[in-house]
């Protein structure tokens, strides 16, 4: 009985240790963004000056605007394209269906650097799309549309499709059926994929870094450029807070949507 208790405590300590190691660096980063210490190594009283400084740095604000714009476009396009694709893959049997499924999986299974590098090759050697907004948005969609496809596919397998047939039997056109029956049924899955894709796109550094060229800054690219100087890091801490808060909001949103879906 006694040894059981000790083992229990050791297990518990192990679990706590994993979570401490996982979260401590992130928490310290956020806490230091409020510290009055010039390079953020010690706690020296509360301040909001780094946040004020970020708000007054036009480059940071422009990078934020770029990031929001790129992520918004990528999310909308990927979600719509992905939903249609999932519907087609689920509903119809056609030649090349298996191959298409596998190809759609490709960008999410091969390493980011490879996707990024091959896109860079394509943009510079084949189609000559100027590197910047357009190339970044294309690259983000290339990665995130497959995510939407598989999230929506997962939902489609659990849906009762007799309603769709009923709607068609009652003489509703394809568009009406989509608007009144299919879209509402798939809505939770569509929103979940949007809630996953937006933060992914907003976070992405690797793919953007390869296809951004010079001049187009997203927030992660801006952070990376600041990281090259060892002496101005506190501003980064302030920017980083948004990257910690965003996923928490996203997770709460997804949990809420999933509860609704199962309810």
């Amino acid at each position: 009985m006694k040894t059981g208790k000790i083992a229990d405590i050791i297990q518990r300590l192990g679990v706590i240790l994993v979570y401490i190691v996982l979260w401590m660096p992130i928490i310290i980063l956020v806490v230091m963004s409020f510290s009055n210490h010039a390079i953020g190594l010690r706690w020296q009283g509360f301040t909001l000056q780094w946040y004020v400084q970020v708000l007054n740095t036009s480059k940071a604000m422009e990078a934020l605007k770029n990031s929001l714009f790129i992520s918004a476009v990528a999310t909308v396009v990927s979600t719509i394209g992905g939903t249609l694709g999932a519907y087609g893959l689920y509903k119809y049997k056609f030649r090349g269906r298996g191959a298409l499924r596998m190809s759609v999986l490709l960008p999410i299974t091969i390493p980011y650097v490879v996707t990024a590098a091959t896109l860079l090759l394509f943009f510079t050697q084949v189609v000559r799309i100027p590197l910047g907004y357009i190339s970044i948005i294309i690259a983000h969609i290339t990665f995130s549309a497959p995510l939407a496809v598989f999230i929506v596919l997962g939902r489609m397998a659990r849906v009762d499709w007799t309603l769709e047939e009923a709607s068609a039997d009652l003489g509703a056109g394809k568009l009406t059926t989509w608007r009144k029956v299919i879209a509402p049924v798939l809505l939770p899955a569509i929103l979940i994929s949007a809630a996953l894709i937006f933060p992914w796109s907003f976070n992405d550094f690797t793919i953007t870094y390869f296809v951004a060229g010079v001049g187009t800054m997203t927030l992660p690219i801006y952070i990376f450029s600041l990281m090259q100087y060892s002496m101005t890091p506190v501003v980064i801490n302030a920017i980083s807070s948004i990257f910690v808060v965003l996923p928490i909001i996203g997770l709460l949103l997804v949990t809420f949507l999933q509860r609704k879906e199962t309810a």
Partner: protein, 288 residues
């Protein structure tokens, strides 16, 4: 007329057309371009000389570069084993003893997987660097007299990999453990199985799918990682991903870079093939 008949049969096209076309243009064709370029050579100014050669592959499979490729695989395997050894017991504990903290503990694992890897690695660098927070504290306390060198070595890079990819190992395992049928475990106890016995004969085989899914989500990205070597390795400990960056961004030798990308892709596809053979379809189903 024939055309109209053909088109009227393609009812799936409006749906799968856009995604299919997108994948062909922006995934398959670029991959094809990379394969082509990996078999030609770059001239002295980075221009491409369209003559067939296997020189790029020969260059990558010798000396220092081969070491780097082998190192990527080694680091990825170590990362995967450590993540499995931490992730499995952790998931097991949460499922069995998590109680009312279950959702919190799960959420605290999911959120880091959604935080930018760049930032998480940067946070580690702030802690372990010189100047850095740990050094600053230890120096202040007088525990050490000169700053510790914790970064820019292999240990730091592997730690960064484990730190980044642990959630991706733990979460699928958690999902498979959570879906485990309790009655099977009870049955095995009734039949006289010891706890250890039960784990290896019942629990582990039944959660094999989760372990394979976790391995795919952890091993492959760790193998292709380039940020941990860059940010925690200070570009002194290179991995295959670092070579991609080196040849595509820093040096501008596209053919050599393309060869690295092709090798990485081939290795990853081979890994996935092996996992599917070993782990069955279940692992892949769990992923999608």
């Amino acid at each position: 007329m024939q055309m109209v008949k053909f088109l009227s049969k393609q009812v799936h096209l409006p749906y799968v057309g856009p995604v299919g076309l997108w994948v062909i243009i922006f995934v398959i064709i670029p991959m094809g371009v990379a394969v082509y370029l990996s078999f030609v050579q770059a001239g002295s100014h980075g221009q491409i000389i369209h003559e067939f050669t296997i020189g790029n592959y020969r260059a990558l499979f010798t000396g220092e570069r081969l070491m780097i490729l082998a190192r990527s695989l080694q680091y990825a395997v170590v990362t995967n084993i450590v993540c499995l050894l931490i992730g499995y017991p952790l998931a097991y504990w949460i499922v069995r003893h998590g109680g009312r903290f279950k959702f919190l503990l799960l959420g605290l694992m999911i959120v880091p997987s959604w935080i930018s890897q760049l930032l998480r690695l940067y946070a580690l660098r702030r802690l372990g660097g010189d100047p850095g927070i740990i050094n600053s504290i230890l120096l202040g306390l007088g525990v050490i007299s000169s700053p510790l060198k914790m970064l820019f070595n292999p240990t730091a890079v592997v730690f960064g990999l484990i730190y980044t990819w642990l959630p991706f190992m733990m979460l699928p395992i958690y999902a498979s453990l959570e879906g485990l049928d309790e009655s099977l475990l009870e049955a095995s106890v009734d039949l006289g199985a010891t706890p250890l016995n039960r784990f290896f004969t019942v629990t582990l085989p039944l959660t094999k799918g989760g372990v394979f899914a976790g391995t795919i989500l952890c091993l492959i990205p760790a193998f292709g990682d380039w940020l941990s070597p860059l940010i925690l390795g200070g570009d002194r400990v290179l991995m295959a991903g670092s070579l991609v960056r080196l040849y595509f961004i820093n040096v501008g030798n596209f053919p050599l870079g393309a060869a690295v990308a092709v090798i990485l892709t081939a290795a990853v596809l081979l890994m996935i093939y092996i996992f599917i053979k070993l782990g069955g379809e279940e692992a892949v189903e769990r992923l999608v």
